[in-house]
């Protein structure tokens, strides 16, 4: 089977609010797919539908060729989830939390130790979860999600609120898993993360996919040519076109020593999102 996940016209409303509006996409086996969008766009709802936690109002979804409306216990053994809540037992140690899952899946203690080594928590395996830092808890939750060596891994904003070191660590683990053939679906509102990690991205805005494709191809498609960004001595951003009048303006500013720096304008997923929706993401700085 070529595609691990297929959705067709998935719709979901909560009361009068339409959260998902006809979402159709296909994710190939071994692909890292990123679903991007601001808070409230419908990313978590989409993941919840794919993992069988809630039912879509209409449309179809297939995972491993099976209908997501008919999730069986056997299907859950083939997927891993790192959702908005870790689901960790705070009073139990990291080892004990993983032991619970290993009993469910019929795994050995050696496999628990192996996963703890992968997430570099072996030394802290007997530490209670409530005593762990947020980064350690997230790594433990990640370990829990990959313990059963899932074929598909669902990650809901896996690096939100984490420090850069832990974020980089999680990114490396995601890449390693994809190299081993695990299909990964992750949601994020961090465009840089999506550009770094994902083979394909879908931009979700107000329940609709507004753009879909490979991040590098999207950036090339939406590239802005012949434009420079000038930072003045007053730290003001000025965009100047690379034509005769623009160059004259830049030259005047240079003569009067008004320019601090000159930059080219690179298109990013953030700028594409702003162009398509007119909205910026929270805590993201615009480069256009």
């Amino acid at each position: 089977m070529e595609h691990s996940i297929i959705t067709e016209c998935l719709c979901k409303s909560f009361g009068e609010k339409q959260v998902l509006n006809s979402i159709s996409l296909k994710v190939k086996k071994g692909e890292i797919f990123g679903l991007l969008g601001p808070s409230g766009a419908g990313k978590t709802t989409f993941l919840n539908i794919l993992t069988g936690q809630i039912q879509a109002d209409s449309g179809k979804g297939l995972i491993f060729g099976q209908n997501i409306r008919e999730f069986t216990a056997q299907m859950y053994t083939r997927i891993g989830m790192l959702l908005d809540n870790c689901g960790l037992y705070a009073r139990l140690s990291g080892y004990q939390n993983l032991k619970i899952m290993s009993i469910i899946y019929g795994l050995s203690d050696d496999e628990i130790i192996e996963v703890l080594k992968e997430v570099e928590l072996l030394a802290d395996k007997d530490k209670a979860v409530f005593r762990m830092s947020k980064g350690m808890q997230q790594r433990l939750a990640f370990a829990k999600a990959i313990l059963n060596k899932p074929e598909i891994l669902f990650l809901d904003e896996p690096t939100t609120g984490l420090d850069p070191v832990t974020t980089g660590y999680i990114h490396n683990m995601i890449k390693k898993l994809a190299e081993k053939g695990t299909t990964i679906i992750l949601t994020t509102h961090n465009m840089d993360e999506a550009a770094k990690l994902c083979d394909n991205v879908g931009m979700l805005y107000e329940g609709k996919i507004v753009e879909y494709g490979n991040p590098q191809e999207l950036c090339y498609r939406y590239r802005v040519e012949n434009l420079f960004r000038v930072i003045s001595n007053d730290d003001e951003e000025i965009y100047i076109e690379n034509n005769e009048s623009g160059r004259k303006k830049a030259a005047e500013m240079l003569v009067h020593n008004e320019i601090k720096s000159i930059h080219t304008v690179e298109t990013t997923l953030q700028t594409i999102f702003v162009k398509l929706t007119g909205k910026e993401l929270e805590n993201e700085s615009s480069s256009y």
Binding site: N85, G87, Y89, R91, L92, Q96, K99, I100
Partner: protein, 236 residues
């Protein structure tokens, strides 16, 4: 029924209960209080014969109700139950696993009473028989409260007064004949009467006491099934 699922839940509950100081305090404070009152009142055997059965009854009623409801509501609030259910564990497997561990710990917690009560073998066996019936009824009631509640704070506002009402009714029945007659339909009153009768103060019909306890259990099972069906998946 998947034995791995029940084993996983039992492992989780056993480890978590041993680290949950509040729950352990709730379970073991009754025998501790019973011992304190026993040593305070031991010169007055009549007082001992009234007070100790009251503590035992309160233990059988209040501890399981509050523990079971607290465990379920905490898991719902922290979404840990959701993770278990979406790992393939069914709701009844979860409840059986939790109840199994809680039952074991509760049975251990009543053993200290035997050193005060000094029952013979037959009385001891009947004592445990009624204890287990009482625990099952109370855990069913606690499960109902846990399933209905949205979070831990709301569970406390229901489980504590309800368990106190049912648990202290036998004590109230000592002082009022009408309360005594009305409370005979409840398992708490029947268990109190059985323990009180073993201490030589009155006679009771074990058959009728068993019948009332089983009838209470049947009603609670129906209530549980209704609430469970109405509320949908336990993760909600």
């Amino acid at each position: 029924m998947n034995r791995h699922h029940i084993k996983a839940v039992m492992y989780k509950q056993f480890c978590d209960t041993l680290k949950n100081k509040l729950l352990l305090l709730l379970i073991f404070m009754y025998p501790v209080l019973a011992y304190i009152f026993y040593f305070l009142l031991k010169d007055t055997q009549e007082a001992v014969n009234i007070v100790i059965p009251i503590f035992i009854t309160m233990h059988i009623i209040m501890a399981p109700i509050v523990c079971m409801s607290s465990i379920i509501s905490e898991e719902k609030e922290k979404n840990t139950i959701k993770v278990l259910l979406f790992s393939g564990i069914r709701s009844y497997e979860y409840l059986l696993g939790v109840a199994g561990v809680l039952m074991g710990i509760l049975i251990v917690s009543v053993i200290p009473y035997l050193f005060i009560l000094k029952f013979d073998t037959e009385q001891t066996l009947l004592f445990f028989y009624f204890i287990i019936l009482g625990f099952v009824c109370s855990m069913l009631l606690g499960s109902v409260i846990g399933i209905m509640s949205k979070n831990q704070m709301s569970v406390g506002t229901i489980s504590s007064p309800l368990s106190m009402f049912i648990g202290l009714l036998p004590m109230a029945s000592i002082f009022n004949d009408s309360v005594d007659k009305a409370s005979k339909i409840l398992y708490s009153k029947r268990i109190y009467d059985v323990v009180y009768s073993f201490m030589g103060e009155m006679k009771t019909d074990i058959g009728i006491d068993t019948g009332v306890c089983v009838a209470n259990m049947a009603v609670l099972i129906l209530v549980f099934c209704f609430v469970y069906t109405k509320s949908g998946k336990m993760s909600q």
